[in-house]
């Protein structure tokens, strides 16, 4: 569905997200707040350095998560996910 294949996937966000959470989110299942698709975070389409990090739903391209790391602080927007299911 996306002719422009320049994205990475949720696996590549592991390092940046680990700065904030003591968790690896890549195996977590997340539900897209827009289309309801529930998929592993590793499958999200990841756009990096743009100038933050954005994970988009692989089904509908809606923004799942945005992260800006200024060096001093991190800003995280998780509104695009209805939930994240993690095993502890």
């Amino acid at each position: 569905m996306n002719a422009n294949m320049s994205y990475l996937d949720g696996n590549a966000a592991g390092g940046e997200l680990s700065k904030i959470f003591n968790l690896d989110l890549t195996a977590a299942e997340g539900q897209c707040a827009n289309c309801g698709a529930t998929r592993r975070f590793a499958d999200a389409h990841l756009y990096v350095d743009c100038p933050g990090l954005i994970a988009r739903c692989a089904s509908c391209d809606h923004v799942l998560l945005r992260l800006v790391n200024t060096g001093k602080r991190a800003f995280l927007d998780l509104r695009g996910m209805a939930f994240l299911k993690l095993s502890t």
């Binding site: 294949m5 320049s6 994205y7 990475l8 996937d9 949720g10 696996n11 590549a12 592991g14 390092g15 680990s18 700065k19 003591n22 968790l23 690896d24 989110l25 890549t26 195996a27 977590a28 592993r40 975070f41 590793a42 499958d43 990096v48 993690l86 095993s87 502890t88």
Partner: protein
């Protein structure tokens, strides 16, 4: 422990380059000794950071090629991209004794644990072979009897990484079944013309879907999307397909 997402804190560590080995004319395996290495699971990656004297820095992710073991030493295999920023340095400048900043190990999904017993289907596109080689090495170094198949898609025979090791594995035969697909140039007398993987090639070279294998697909983003689509069309359960995308040029350069 299998499948847990809880990690130790992922921090920057310092590693020292202890050996270099050319895999092809453009790719090199770098062995790095990391004194505080916490261990890793096959399929995980590290982030490597290079810093110029004026403070400019660049970070790139590289899959760990070596199997988990108790050594404080890991290997990464880096392919040089023509317009890359980090890969030319790692494949041409780095010397034995140099130190590197590394963060990791990272990854909780695209991993294989030795206690997984189901059949495993590995599909590599180009440099996507690296984490899959770690998985193969991990399988062979363990007591696991899980059935493994690897389909390795390449432009041409000279582009293959780990040639001797894979050849030795395929001669042994029973533990890992190996097949190749060539997209531009085939070896002499190859039964199939060079082409992208298609449904027919896949059906001849992967585990049938009724065995419910777990599939690991790694390579450039367009390769992964294409192959994942073919696997689903062939009846593989989407939830059993794990993917790792290296971006549009085969690597986040």
């Amino acid at each position: 422990m299998a499948g847990t997402e809880v990690l130790g804190r992922v921090t920057w560590r310092t590693g020292k380059v202890v050996s270099l080995r050319d895999e092809t004319s453009t790719a090199r395996t770098i062995a790095i000794e990391v004194r505080d290495w916490p261990g890793h699971v096959a399929g995980q990656h590290v982030d490597v950071r290079l810093t110029a004297p004026d403070g400019y820095s660049a970070v790139r992710s590289y899959s760990i090629a070596s199997a988990p073991n108790s050594d404080r030493r890991i290997e990464i295999t880096v392919e040089r991209l023509e317009d890359g920023e980090v890969s030319p340095y790692l494949t041409q400048e780095v010397a034995i004794g140099d130190e590197l900043d590394l963060r990791g190990p990272i990854g909780g999904w695209f991993v294989w644990h030795v206690d997984q017993t189901e059949p495993i289907q590995l599909i590599a596109g180009g440099s996507g072979i690296v984490p899959l080689m770690a998985i193969i090495r991990s399988r062979l170094a363990s007591a696991s009897n899980a059935r493994f198949r690897l389909l390795y898609s390449l432009r041409e025979p000279a582009a293959a990484f780990y040639k001797d090791e894979l050849q030795a594995i395929s001669i042994r035969g029973e533990s890992v079944i190996l097949s190749y697909a060539f997209t531009r140039i085939t070896p002499k007398d190859w039964p199939r013309p060079a082409s992208r993987i298609d449904a027919a090639l896949l059906s001849e070279n992967v585990w049938p879907s009724h065995l419910s294998p777990t599939c690991y697909v790694c390579g450039p983003t367009s390769f992964v999307e294409h192959v994942a689509g073919l696997l689903i069309a062939a009846g593989m359960d989407r939830g059993r397909i794990r993917t790792e995308r290296f971006g549009s040029t085969g690597e986040h350069k």
